[in-house]
């Protein structure tokens, strides 16, 4: 009886059903990989020499040296932390009006377009590149870093805030509007209660990102722990570098747990 049924079965292709397209794509991917790997030009001798240094770095990570460069590390940390806090506060303060302006359901079209383009510019420029320019303009040090992070915060918070406002429950806004409330009263009674918890959450999240970024922009001269890290790596002091990286990881972990705790507490 079972002889009447087919004895083979192959899983039919799920995503790309056209056979030629599928084979074409597979060949394309293969060709790309060959070309990409082919253009690598690895100096294996240099790499094998580096293995010893890599080992030293891993040792440095496992036995970090916090003490011998502690003055530099602590100064870098203080710069990073202060820069993180000030840039987040200023960034959030600026991004609230811009975020409101970038919400389609609240403002006239010209204001919307202006605010959205500010957001787009801030988001498309990478922090490190912004930092390079600001360092060139304002000189080395944490002030340029502060400006960079503030600039990046504006794009981040304003966009998410605006998207959030656009998604609010229209019925609540409608109800407040129908009482004859002014635009500011509308903001205060209908919008603020709906988006405030999220704004606080976003600000805490951005605080965390800003700290991580502060470690990066130091490499191009914008102060903070990144500058200290850069120096220690340049000097091949892997034990100090390991110490700095561990501190960064620890602070990020604390910030993550802290902010999730704080968010729960505030809601």
């Amino acid at each position: 009886m079972s002889g009447t049924y087919p004895a083979t079965w192959r899983r039919p292709p799920q995503i790309i059903t056209d056979r030629r397209l599928r084979i074409g794509l597979q060949i394309g991917v293969l060709v790309y990989l060959v070309l990409a790997v082919g253009s690598l030009e690895v100096n294996w001798q240099r790499v094998s020499e580096g293995l010893e240094r890599g080992q030293r770095f891993i040792m440095g990570f496992l036995q970090p040296d916090f003490t011998s460069r502690w003055r530099d590390i602590s100064q870098g940390l203080v710069e990073s932390l202060t820069m993180t806090l000030t840039s987040t506060v200023v960034g959030v303060l600026i991004s609230v009006p811009i975020g409101i302006g970038a919400a389609r359901n609240l403002v006239p079209r010209p204001v919307y377009l202006v605010c959205r383009s500010i957001v787009a510019v801030s988001r498309s420029l990478q922090e490190v590149i912004v930092a390079i320019f600001l360092v060139a303009m304002f000189g080395f040090g944490p002030f340029a870093g502060f400006l960079t992070l503030t600039f990046a915060t504006i794009g981040f918070i304003a966009k998410l805030l605006a998207d959030d406002i656009e998604e609010i429950d229209e019925a609540q806004a409608e109800a407040i509007r129908s009482t004859g409330a002014t635009w500011l009263q509308l903001l205060n009674y209908a919008i603020q209660p709906q988006v405030m918890p999220r704004l606080i959450g976003l600000s805490l999240y951005r605080l965390d990102i800003n700290f991580r970024e502060s470690a990066v922009i130091g490499i191009v001269g914008a102060g903070g722990i990144g500058a200290t890290l850069n120096t220690s790596i340049d000097r091949y002091e892997y034990d100090s570098a390991g110490a700095i990286l561990l501190i960064i990881i620890a602070i990020v972990m604390v910030a993550e747990y802290g902010s999730s705790y704080l968010r729960k507490f505030l809601q």
Binding site: S2, Y5, P6, T8, W9, R10, R11, Q14
Partner: protein
């Protein structure tokens, strides 16, 4: 034959889901398990293939005690026990054929199953089972493209692909409409009769149980309070299982409801006229 000997299960929270349950299911018998929610029906079924670990007691299937088995032996015994789930529990993103073939997973080595290279006999059997449940044309469809009744039939085919000695069926019709429910129950009972396969069926729908089961076991608060033929399931027995519900009042409530609806329709018709 399946035999449960003073089976008990106490969850870590301290809830005693089953206490001292003993039951024998001979070959070819279809047993309906009824009882209020929380009576331990689902726990009972899951204890048999040890998706839930029983606390004490014995479960013997064809002379093998399932409770004391190690992991590897347990997997071997699980192959003999087909299970059919309440919400089908098909792997939604796999094809119907893969879902049926997954019933063979306990029999084939990993690399063959990974590459989907099943034996010819397995594939023929899978097709045969799909034909039996009326889904031969749907073999290459993805499981999430099927209707509820069709999915449950794939679930049945998957369980049968294991070539089981026992079927565990957990609320097979809970997510189906009344007509499809009857079709599924009929299919299940037919298949069990064809293969002389014993089955334990959790079922919350008492009329359905009466219609299709050969024997009914009533569970209440983890204990068997009724075990007899469906004809013996009187209102007294139902009260013993489900508690002192006022069945007459409920029925009267239904009549009230129907009358109210009729009344409303009549009034609407008058307004319209």
């Amino acid at each position: 034959m399946l035999e449960l000997i003073s089976l008990s299960k106490t969850y870590r929270t301290g809830d005693a889901a089953l206490s001292d349950v003993s039951l024998q299911v001979p070959k070819g018998q279809i047993v309906g398990l009824i009882g209020p929610s929380g009576a331990g029906k689902s726990t009972l079924i899951r204890c048999i293939n040890r998706l839930v670990e029983p606390s004490t007691g014995k479960i013997e299937l064809g002379g093998v005690d399932l409770v004391t088995l190690g992991r590897r032996d347990l997997r071997k015994q699980r192959r003999r026990i087909g299970m059919i789930f309440q919400e089908y529990a098909l792997v939604e993103r796999l094809t119907v054929m893969e879902n049926v073939l997954s019933g063979r997973l306990g029999y084939v080595p990993f690399w063959r199953s990974y590459l989907r290279r099943f034996d010819a006999s397995d594939i023929q059997r899978a097709y045969q089972l799909l034909d039996r449940v009326g889904l031969l044309d749907h073999a290459d469809k993805r499981a999430d493209a099927l209707s509820g009744g069709q999915r449950q039939r794939v679930g049945i085919a998957r369980a049968l692909a294991q070539d089981p000695d026992l079927l565990l069926v957990d609320e097979p019709t809970a997510s189906l409409d009344p007509k499809t429910s009857r079709q599924i129950m009929r299919l299940l009972t037919e298949i069990c009769t064809e293969r002389d396969l014993p089955a334990i069926v959790n079922i919350h729908d008492v009329p359905l149980a009466r219609q299709f089961m050969q024997r009914i076991v009533g569970l209440r608060a983890g204990q068997i309070v009724f075990d007899d033929a469906p004809t013996a399931l009187t209102e007294d027995a139902l009260t013993r299982i489900y508690g002192a519900e006022d069945w007459d009042a409920m029925r009267k409530g239904d009549i009230d409801q129907a009358e109210a609806e009729n009344d409303a329709i009549r009034q609407l018709a008058e307004v319209g006229a």
